[in-house]
Amino acid sequence: MSDPLAGWRVAQAPWYRATGNEVALYEAAWEARLPLMLKGPTGCGKTRFVEYMAWRLGRPLITVACHEDMTASDLVGRFLLDAQGTRWHDGPLTLGVRHGAIVYLDEVVEARQDTTVVIHPLTDARRVLPLEKKGELVSAHADFHLVISYNPGYQNLMKDLKASTKQRFAALDFGWPQAEVEAEIVAREGGVEAAVARLLVRVAERSRELKGHGLDEGLSTRMLVHAGQLIRRGVAPVEACEVALVRPVTDDSDVRAALQLAVEAVF
């Protein structure tokens, strides 16, 4: 029988630069099949880390990008109609539960709370997933592991994980790496020289001073990689930063002026 999870196996080793002991901690959580929460701002390496761990542990990885219109059926599955009649189709969560994949719910706080409670029976000692519409109770495969990502800086008083959800998880904190490490990442992923990467990291550091003062968050590592990719293709650094860093992150003309000044001052 063919491997139902073939499409989700991580074929090539993803490049990941560890910043602390997160790899060892993840492996420990994995061995205990402890549900894991990765907390940190967007663009700091959470998704890349999960891919890397999936490859390292040799497990398939099913990623679900959560959003506000996501219903429980989108996670769990639904009946579909075809020429022969109705047919049950497993959702990504059920697929992972049944066959033993790592299921990664990215930006889980975007989904409505009545959707996220679907994961509760999987995150306690029961490790089961009830499929109510189908009348089936799926016991989790021994290798099933649930990982979620969560951006704690996101300010919305309505959208937060319920306390009863949060306490089912162990958490790893992700943030901006140390400057030298971040420069290494930007150099490698962006394809630029170390000196340029270091300057890009300086721009990001300056921008992070503006957090709460016109910017919700400072510039992320991912954005620096984008800037690097433009620079590698011959765009002048100041202009690359304007396009990849300053313009996407704010429309406020005063904040833009301040960021542009920081870019010009650093380069």
């Binding site: 059926s73 020429a83 002026a257």
Partner: protein, 559 residues
């Protein structure tokens, strides 16, 4: 460009590169002077091109970081002090360039490009200034070349502030011996973005502020900005400062009549909530007959008509007024017959039918109750630059806009205010209660609010929480608008009330009431995160934007 237009961008740029804000003050337009920096305060011309403001701000920031020594004039002559200042300018700019090389492109355009042929001191100074900043610039004048050599030879000592005075002494001596003419009274520092270096020199013993030069003649023209004597603009308003002295006894004032409530307060040193420690008095808010204040608020509201229109469009776009019927849904309450028929047709044709055959009503229900809590302390009397209004008046306008918008949204909203005069006299005023409709009477009540006293946040938050506790709503929020740190006249420990505020916020949270703080204090980062949490506060540096920011903040917070 007027400073008020440039201020916010400059403040942000300053914070981004140097991490800390500066205090500034705009000069009267009639006095044509260069920027001046002293005692942590930067005085700026009211109008200037944007790049000039930026160059000034970052030059002064470099001074603030690297000019750590005040020089004694000693026996230095005017020529020597002028050159010492120039070397110091070059030194701090070089140090800044080590971190931010791009700043050279900001400063260099203001330096004269072509050397003049005149050999008087100001011309030589300008040439020297440029030569010290721009390594690629050629200047064959022997004095300039020598100064440049000496400056670069001392490269390893650039971090030492004393270098400037030493070089100023030597080079000034040289120039004096060459008998180069120098009229220090008529001299103006070049280039235009550099400040007059008042901060470099120790203040003389005489009570008047004198220039670093020995000669203290007051000039008739306003051109020379080395003059300290005869300064026109007033210093900080002394009487107002006295009113805000910390540590004084509670002001002699009979507490007003009104219902009284007692709350505990967290004492961080003994780590216990002292029960029955604070007394909150609800002061009735009179509805005065329409006076000047109400007319002003009405006028301001008219002036904000386009903000309100924009917000109304935003709110309408949320289409919250009636439930919408959504067709062709994958899940729903009833079958969508049109979709069913199409699906049946597809099925018979052997095509996978579209499974969105249901319909439902989208009842996007908002169930939010918000208590808008305004800080009415004395500091809200301060003017907001560029608006002709005080902080409190701006807050009133922002609250009025928000109340009207929220009524349109159908969200429950109340508007209260507070100020404190010691722990036994925390004054709480209810301008608008839940369920009250916006009306001219409400507007008069709001407009009549008076600033005064201090900011005992914890007690006010607990009382606001008591009001919200009785509301049935899925989300209950206290939205606090304040212009400073929590503080009261009977508290000497700056951390005490911050910790108590955090404790109050936590106890509200335990009851399911969220607290969000919108702070108008640019230095709020020191305490706002500790008191409210990283996610539950926002700092608004440019207070004039409060009306638009408050409403959009609320809409963003409540999804």
């Amino acid at each position: 460009m007027h400073w008020s237009e440039a201020e916010r961008a400059q403040a942000l740029g300053l914070r981004a590169l140097w991490g800390q804000p500066l205090e500034w003050k705009v000069r009267e337009a009639s006095v044509a002077r260069a920027p001046s920096f002293d005692e942590g305060l930067l005085r700026l011309p009211p109008r200037a091109p944007e790049r000039l403001y930026a160059a000034t701000v970052h030059h002064v920031a470099a001074h603030r970081r690297y000019s750590t020594l005040k020089f004694a004039r000693g026996s230095l002559r005017p020529m020597q002090t002028a050159i010492a200042g120039l070397i110091e300018d070059a030194r701090v700019e070089r140090l800044a360039l080590q971190e931010y090389p791009g700043l050279q492109r900001l400063w260099l355009p203001f330096h004269a490009d072509t050397p003049t042929h005149s050999m008087n001191a100001p011309a030589l100074f300008a040439r020297l200034a440029r030569a010290l900043l721009d390594d690629g610039h050629e200047d064959l004048n022997p004095f300039v070349a020598k100064a440049r050599r000496m400056f670069h030879a001392a490269r390893r000592r650039w971090e030492d502030p004393r270098l400037s005075r030493e070089l100023g002494n030597l080079l000034g001596n040289d120039l004096g011996q060459m008998r180069v003419p120098f009229d220090h009274r008529a001299w103006r520092i070049e280039p235009a973005y550099r400040d007059d270096n008042q901060h470099l020199w120790e203040a003389p013993d005489t009570p008047e502020r004198r220039s670093p030069f020995d000669d203290a003649q007051t000039l008739e023209t306003g051109v020379s900005m080395m003059q300290g004597a005869g300064e026109q603009e007033p210093e900080f308003d002394a009487p107002e400062q006295a009113a805000r002295v910390v540590g004084a006894d509670p002001q002699e004032d009979t507490p007003p009549e009104g219902p009284v409530f007692q709350y505990g307060e967290w004492d961080r040193l003994i780590r216990v909530e002292r029960p029955v420690w604070c007394t909150v008095r609800e002061i009735p808010v009179p509805t005065p007959p329409d006076g000047a204040a109400a007319a002003r608020l009405a006028g301001d509201l008219q002036g904000q008509a386009d903000t309100l229109a924009r917000m109304s469009r935003l709110i309408d776009a949320l289409q919250l007024e009636r439930p919408r019927r959504l067709r062709r849904q994958p899940e729903g309450e009833a079958l969508d017959l049109d979709a069913c028929i199409e699906a049946a047709v597809q099925w018979r044709s052997g095509v996978t039918p579209d499974d969105r055959v249901q319909q439902r009503l989208d009842r996007r229900q908002r169930d939010v109750a918000t208590l808008l809590l305004l800080d009415l302390s004395e500091s809200t009397r301060d003017p907001v630059p560029g608006t002709g209004r005080s902080v409190l008046e701006t807050g009133q306008l922002a609250s009025a806009l928000m109340l009207q918008a929220l009524q349109r949204l159908g969200d429950a909203c109340a508007l209260h205010g507070f100020a404190s005069n010691g722990r036994e006299d925390v004054r709480y005023q209810r301008f608008v209660d839940f369920g009250e409709v916006w009306s001219p009477a409400v507007r008069s009540r709001l407009a009549a609010a008076q600033p005064g006293y201090s900011t005992r946040m914890g007690a006010a938050l607990r009382h606001a929480g008591a009001h919200l506790r009785h509301r049935r709503a899925m989300h209950r929020i206290v939205l606090l608008v304040t212009d400073g740190a929590p503080h009261d006249i009977d508290i000497h420990d700056p951390h005490y009330l911050v910790d108590d505020t955090r404790h109050a916020v936590r106890s509200l949270r335990a009851e399911g009431i969220a607290t969000f703080c919108l702070s108008l204090d640019p230095n709020a980062r020191d305490y706002a995160e500790a008191a409210f949490g990283a996610r539950n506060h926002q700092i608004l540096a440019r207070v004039a934007r409060l009306p638009e920011v408050l409403l959009s903040l609320y809409l963003r917070l409540t999804g």
